[in-house]
Symmetry: D2
Subunit: 347 residues, 4 copies
C-alpha cells in the first residue's frame, strides 16, 4: 500500500510501505477513504515532536471502511463505515474508565498514538488497535466530509474549549484565534446556550468565517482588543475565554478578557513557558483549564451533525487526492493566507 | 471605643476612635468578643495593599454579640451571638446570587471590605453592613474559639483548596505549605473522602500539626520533594495539589505533583508573576484554580464543628487580650518560629 | 385602586381596594402595566387552595414601574421598569442562599406568596416584599409582553422541566402536554443542545404551536403514544421526559417514555396520588424530579430573550384590559378550545 | 467441578457440572475462593426472577484467582487475585461508555448476568466474560473477606444510596432499613461528609450494628418514626433519605422524612407498585432516584478499604464452606433472626 512517511525534519514522502494488517485480536484494518491534516502534523514535520521517528506514517484522522477484523472484535465487521478518531482508547485503564482516554495508560500514557507512536492515517490503509472501544460507526445521515472533522478538530474545540470552559446558557464567550480549532469552538458553543460568542483574530477571512459559524460578534486584533471585547459585555468581561492559538500573548489576552469567576480554557499547543500575572489573578476566582482532546464527545457530535445542528462540512475548504498530498500540506501550512480552514484528502 | 488603627506602612496603634454605629437600615453593630490576625493583615502593615489608608481600623474576623440593629434587619436581634465573616454579601448582586460574594458588586467589586475598604474587627465594636445576608448565628455547641477560625482561615482552606480542587472520595491530595490555611485544607479534606492527604512543609512543627489535623503522610521540603510525594501515589502524582503559600516555587511544586487530569488549587496570595511551563502542561488535562474565599461554606463548617467532625479549636495556639495586640502581631508575624498557627484575641 | 379580589370558590370581582403601600423598609410598590393568568389562579377559583381566603387579591405575575421604595431598598428606584416574579425571595434563609427560594423559610416556607399568602398582581398596584432580592430590572431590549412570561411560565418549564430533567447536548426530550408550561419547556430545551424534542398532546393547535416553538417532532395522543415516541428514538426511549399536565396517566406516560438512566421531570400540579410501577422501575436507574419554580433562571432567560434566542412573545395569544379581566379568565379557563396559550392583560 | 445449581422454585443443589472454560477471546476463568449470598438469590429461589431457568449456576459475587485467560485478554494473567463484581461490562456500548454498565446493551440490556443470564459464582470456577473491562485486581492490603463485599452490597449501598442520593458535606441522612445494603450506605456516607446518619429499623441487632458502622443516631420503627427522625433534624427533615428495604411503606416513610429540596434514594427491590402522594409531593422539589448498581465505584471503595477508612470485613458475620452452602442459605434467608448480615463462603 501507499502512505505518507516521515523521514526526519522537513522530509516526508508518499511511498510504498508494507500493508496494514491485524496484529492483535482487538485490531481492525480500515481502508482510508477520507483523511485530513492537523496542525500537529506540521509540528512533527518541523521536528518538534521527538517521539516521531524516521519511517513513521503520519496522520491521526480518518473516515473509511473496515476491511479486516481481529478475533476478539465484536462491535465492527468488514464493510462497516467508521470514523477513526485521533485518540485510541483501551477501555479498561483507569483513565479510559473515567472518560479521559487522552491519557490512556495502556497505549502509552497518552491516547494520541496514530502518526505518533504507531503508524497513522495518511495512508491507503490503517491498523486500528482496541477497535471496539476506539472506533465510531458513522450514521448514514453523516457524510465522510462531515465525519472527518469529528476525528479531531471539532471534538478539540468542543471538549477542550466549550466543555472544559464550562459554557452555560446565557454565558458570554470569547474565542481567541479563529483557525480550525477556534472555529470548532464557535460552532459548538450554541449547544450550551451561549448568549454571545465573540471571535478574535487578526485575519479578516477567519472573522468572516466565524460569523458564518455562529459568532455573534467579531473583534480584529489590535491595541484595543481587550477593551473592545469587554465593551461587548456588561463591563466585567466574558464568562469563558477560549484560547485557540498557543502563544504566551494569546493566553494572556484570554486571561485579560475573563470576568471574576470565569474560565480560561486553553486549547492551544504551547512551545514555551507563559508568565502568568498571578499577583493580579490570584484574587479573581478564575479557573484555567488545558489538555488534549479525549474524543469522547464524538457520539454527541455525530448526533448533532446528523440532526443538522452542526454544519461540520463548513470546515472543509480545500480538496485533494492522495497523490496531491504534498500540495495539501503546502496549502494547510499557510492556511490563513490561503483562506483555508481544513483540507479534505481522498484516494 | 478602642480599636487597632493603621497609620501607614509599619505603623498601627490600639487607640480611641469614634464608636461604631448603625448607618444604614441593613447594618448591625457587633461587640467583638474574639478576633484574630490574618496573613493579609501583615501584608497591609507592610504597605502592600494600597486600598488600605491611614486611619483604617484593621481586621476582618470576629465573633461577638449584636448590640444594635438597623430598621430593616430581620434575621438578627440585640443579644445574638454571631460570627462576622471576612466577606460581606449584599445578597442581591449577580455575584452574591450565584454564591460568589467574594466579588460582590455592591460593596466594591470585592467582598472583603472589613479592615480594607471599611473599618474592621480588631476593635471593641464593629459595624456590619448587609447584616441579614452576611452574618451567621453561632450554634450553642460551638465555642467562640472554634467559631473565630470559621471567619476566614477554615473556609479559605476548604473553599479555595478542597472545594475548588474538586477533592472526591478516594483521591490523593497534596497540600504544599502547612500554615494556618494549608492546615485548614488538611482538616477539611476528610469531608470529601480523600484517601491520602500529604502535607509538605519545611517546618517540622507544622508537619507534626499536619498529622494531628488529619494528614496521612508528611514530606519535609528538600531536593526530592516531588519524587517523595509521587512515590506515595501510584507513580502518576496526586489527584489534587493545594498550594497554600503564594510563591512561584511553591506553585510550580504543586504543578509538578499533580497527575494528568488533576487539579492544582492555588490558595496562596501571590506578589509576583509565575512562569508556568505551558509547553509541558498544555497536554496534561490539568485545571488550575485560584481565588478569594466566599465564606458561603460557613453553615456547613458550623455543622461539622458542632458535630465534632472538625476540631476547629486546634487552630488556636496562642491567646492574647486586646491590650496585648501588639504582642499578638509579633508572635503571628513569625508564626513558624513561634510554633504558632493562629492567635486568639479577646477583650 | 382597583384589583381582582377573590371571594370564595367561583367568586371574584374587579373592585376598589385600599392602595398598595410600602409597609416594610425592604418593600417597593409597583404600578402593574402587564399581568397574566396562571393555571394556579384557576385552581384557586375552584377552591382547591385552602390558604387563599376571601378578600385576597389574585395573581402572581407582573411587569410594571416602581412607584415607591422602602428605606432599605438600594437596588431599585422610583421609575424603574421591573419584572415581579411569582416567587418572593428573602435572600438570607438557607433555602434562598442555596438558590431554592421556592421554599423560602422567611416568607412562609414557600416562596409563592403573591395572590396566595399576600395580595397579588392582578391589580393596579402591588406591594413587593424583599424587593432587592426578588425583583428583576427589565432590559430595554425586552418588551413587557415578553417579560411577563418570565414571571412564571417560562422559568417553570425551564427550571422544573429542562434544568431538573438535566437535558444535555445530544439528548432526546419528550414533553408530555403542550400547554403554556410544556411549550415553555419546548422553547428552552435548545439552550442545552437537545437533538430531538418531541411534543405530545391531544390538541392539534398545541402541536402546531410546539413545532413553531422548536419541537422537532410531535405525537398526537392515542393508544400508540408510547410506541410512537420510542420509535423516534433508538428504540430505548428518550433521555428526558417532561410531564407538564398533572394527571396520573400523563406521569405514567412520561415514565414509560424514558430510557434506562433517564430523567422524568414532573412539572404538572397533581391533585391525587399516582401509583408508580416500582416493581418495573426500580431496576431502570431513572430519576424522578418535581417541584415549584424558583425563578432564579430569570436573569439567564432575560439575556436569551434580549439576544433573540427565546421568542417569549409567542406565548401571548390573547390581549385584554383590566376591565375585561373576567373575559380573560373565561378564555384562559378553556385555553385549548379557545386556541389560547397565555393571555396578556394591561390597564 | 462442583456448583450450586438452580432447579426451579425452591430447588437447588451443590452438584457436579461441566468445568468452566474460556469460550470467547475476552473471557477468563476464575477459581472461586470466596463467595457470598445476595438477597436476589433468595428471590430467584422463590421463583420471582423468570429469566433464571432450571440448570443455572447461582451467585454473582466472588473473589478468586485467574486460572485461564482468552487470547485477547491483556489486563489479567493466570495467578492474578481478582474481584468478580455483580455487573459485567462490555466497555464499548453507550451505557458502558457513560459509566452505567448496569444497562450494558451488549450483555443483555442489563449488566447483571452472573447467576441470572449466564452461570454464576457459587461454584468452584466461573467463566468471566469481558474480563478486561469487568474484573478488578485486589490490592495486597485487602483481604478476601473484605473484597467479597465489594462485589455487590457495598457498591449498591454506596452508588444507589449515597451517590444517587447526592450526599454532601453537612447533610443529614436517614437510612430506612439496616440490613446488609442499608448498612453499606451507613458505612460509606462518611466519604461525603454527612453530619448526621440516622439508621431506622425494627431489629435491635441491626440498629446496634448501624451504630458500629457509623450511624450517629438510630430510630426503632414505630408509630412515631417520622416524627422521631424529623426531631433529629432542624424540623424540616433530612437532606437525603435512603430506602433499603423495598416495600411501599418503607418508600413512603423515606418520602415523609425528606426535607424540601432533598433526595429519596430508593435502593430496595420492589415487587409491587407504590402509590406516591404526588398531590403533596409535587411542590416539594424533591428528587426520587432508583436503580441497579453499576459497580463502577469499586476502585474507589478498594482504595478506602485498603487505607482502613471502610472496615468492609464487618459485613461478614457467618462463615461456611462450599459443602455447607445449604446451611449458609438457611441462615441468610432469616438473617435478622440469626443476627446475620452477610455470609462468607469458601472452599
Amino acid at each position: 500500500m501507499k502512505a505518507l512517511v516521515y523521514h526526519g525534519p522537513g522530509n516526508k514522502s508518499w511511498e510504498d510501505v508494507p500493508d496494514a494488517t491485524v496484529q492483535e485480536p482487538t485490531d481492525v484494518v480500515v481502508k482510508v477513504e477520507t483523511t485530513t491534516i492537523c496542525g500537529t502534523d506540521l509540528h512533527i514535520l518541523q521536528g518538534d515532536v521527538a517521539a516521531v521517528t524516521d519511517g513513521r506514517i503520519l496522520g491521526h484522522e480518518a473516515v473509511g471502511t473496515v476491511t479486516a477484523v481481529g478475533d476478539a472484535v465484536r462491535g465492527f465487521s468488514v464493510g462497516d463505515r467508521v470514523l477513526v478518531p485521533a485518540i485510541t482508547k483501551c477501555g479498561r485503564c483507569e483513565y479510559c474508565q473515567r472518560g479521559m482516554p487522552s491519557h490512556c495508560q495502556t497505549v502509552g500514557g497518552i491516547g494520541w498514538i496514530f502518526g505518533h507512536l504507531i503508524d497513522g492515517t495518511q495512508a491507503e490503509y490503517v491498523r486500528v488497535p482496541y477497535a471496539d472501544t476506539s472506533l465510531y460507526a458513522v450514521p448514514s445521515e453523516v457524510t465522510d466530509e462531515q465525519a472527518i472533522f469529528l476525528a479531531d478538530s471539532l471534538p478539540t474545540g468542543y471538549e477542550v474549549g466549550v466543555l472544559a470552559g464550562n459554557v452555560r446558557p446565557g454565558h458570554t464567550v470569547a474565542v481567541v484565534g479563529a483557525g480550525a480549532v477556534g472555529l470548532s469552538a464557535v460552532l459548538t458553543t450554541g449547544l450550551w446556550g451561549a448568549s454571545k460568542v465573540i471571535a478574535i483574530d487578526s485575519n479578516k477571512f477567519r472573522l468572516e468565517k466565524a460569523l458564518e459559524f455562529g459568532a455573534t460578534d467579531v473583534v480584529e486584533v489590535g491595541p484595543g482588543t481587550v477593551g473592545d471585547v469587554v465593551a461587548l459585555t456588561d463591563g466585567l468581561g466574558v464568562d469563558v475565554a477560549i484560547e485557540a492559538v498557543g502563544y504566551p500573548e494569546t493566553l494572556l489576552t484570554a486571561a485579560s478578557l475573563v470576568r471574576p469567576g470565569g474560565t480560561i480554557a486553553n486549547v492551544g499547543v504551547h512551545g514555551t513557558p507563559v508568565e502568568l500575572p498571578m499577583q493580579d489573578m490570584w484574587i479573581s476566582n478564575v479557573t484555567l483549564t488545558m489538555g488534549l482532546v479525549d474524543t469522547v464527545s464524538i457520539p454527541t457530535l455525530l448526533k448533532m451533525v446528523a440532526s443538522g445542528r452542526i454544519p461540520a462540512e463548513k470546515m472543509g475548504t480545500h480538496r485533494f487526492t492522495f497523490g496531491q498530498i504534498d500540495e495539501a500540506y503546502s496549502v494547510f501550512a499557510d492556511a490563513a493566507a490561503n483562506l483555508a480552514l481544513k483540507v479534505v484528502i481522498t484516494p
